[in-house]
Amino acid sequence: MIFVTVGAQMPFDRMCRAVDDWARARGRNDVFAQIGSTAWRPSAIEYSELLTPPEFLAKVKACDVIVAHAGMGSILTALEHGKPILVMPRRGDLRETRNDHQIATAKRFLALEKVAVAFDETELAAKLDALSSLQAADRISPYASESLLAAVRDFVRGSRGERTR
């Protein structure tokens, strides 16, 4: 099953339409998309506007591959569960998010070989055709790096007995 997600905050019709068109053209009936709050409706794929966190987790666990916007929630969740992920970044100029930070995120995680990236709809269709060869990156732990945890622990412990009020 291919699990498509736009994240919890806003729809991303440009990506979902491209997946829907591809699924129709290829006769795929194993695609489920979480499309966000939008007026547009897919014609070929199963969908839901929003999933509860347990429903979302169930889809992640059940799927073979994740197709998502280049949001960190989606990327971290895929890496944590050892699922291959293909991301398409939202564009600021199309008001799909506030700026082009997802393009930078996608490029950086692509360079780290953590994700596959389709920068536009055409590329998305081509990469969807090659989806079965997509490999998952090394699974990551469910927690932050030990050095960041240590920094946060120090910060929290430093708060002991240092109340200024």
Binding site: G7, A8, Q9, T52, P53, P54, G71, M72, G73, S74, I75, L76, T77, L79, R98, H101, Q102, A104, T105, K107, R108, I140, P142, Y143, A144, S145, E146, S147, L148, L149, A150, A151, V152, R153, F155, V156, R157, G158, S159, R160, G161, E162, R163, T164, R165
Partner: protein, 157 residues
């Protein structure tokens, strides 16, 4: 000092999506603390450790002034009620206001800039970071990219 106060009281704040996922990845650092998690979706309650408290506030962007005002007021009430020793956030708007209020009240504050901010520190981070006790980026190349801050001490992965 009472025994109850021997456990640091922590307010851990994040908006939805990636901000919340990143905050959850910091959970082991809060062991031994009395934590109140603050976020924007009631459904995230399933993610918090047993024994932790949970509060929901409205989300808001910088284009929704009324929403921001409401958010700031709710956070102020939560901070006055829970009396945290430390406030930590992974962003975005709820974390910004929680730190703003916390800094004003003399509470220790930490801003962990989202790992999504790859090319530059977030706008909120640039504004609140210098006022925070601890200001972190998750990318080594952004360390001290805004004067004295932020610092780099690792990432959520």
């Amino acid at each position: 000092m009472s025994d109850a106060h021997a456990r640091p009281r922590v307010l851990a704040v994040a908006s939805g999506g990636g901000h919340w996922v990143q905050l959850m990845r910091l959970r082991p650092a809060f062991e031994g603390c009395d934590v109140t998690f603050v976020t924007v979706r009631e459904q995230y309650r399933v993610d918090i450790p047993a024994g932790a408290a949970f509060e929901v506030v409205n989300d808001a962007t910088r284009w929704n002034k009324f929403g921001l005002l409401m958010l700031a007021w709710r956070l102020y009430r939560i901070i006055r009620r829970t009396k945290p020793d430390a406030i930590i956030t992974t962003g975005a708007a709820p974390g910004f206001f929680a730190l703003r209020i916390g800094a004003f009240l003399g509470i220790r504050t930490a801003w962990v800039d989202s790992i999504a901010n790859v090319e530059e520190v977030s706008l909120s981070g640039r504004r609140i970071g210098p006022k925070a006790t601890l200001w972190l980026t998750q990318w080594p190349h952004l360390e001290k990219s805004c004067g004295q801050g932020p610092s780099y001490r690792g990432a959520v992965l």
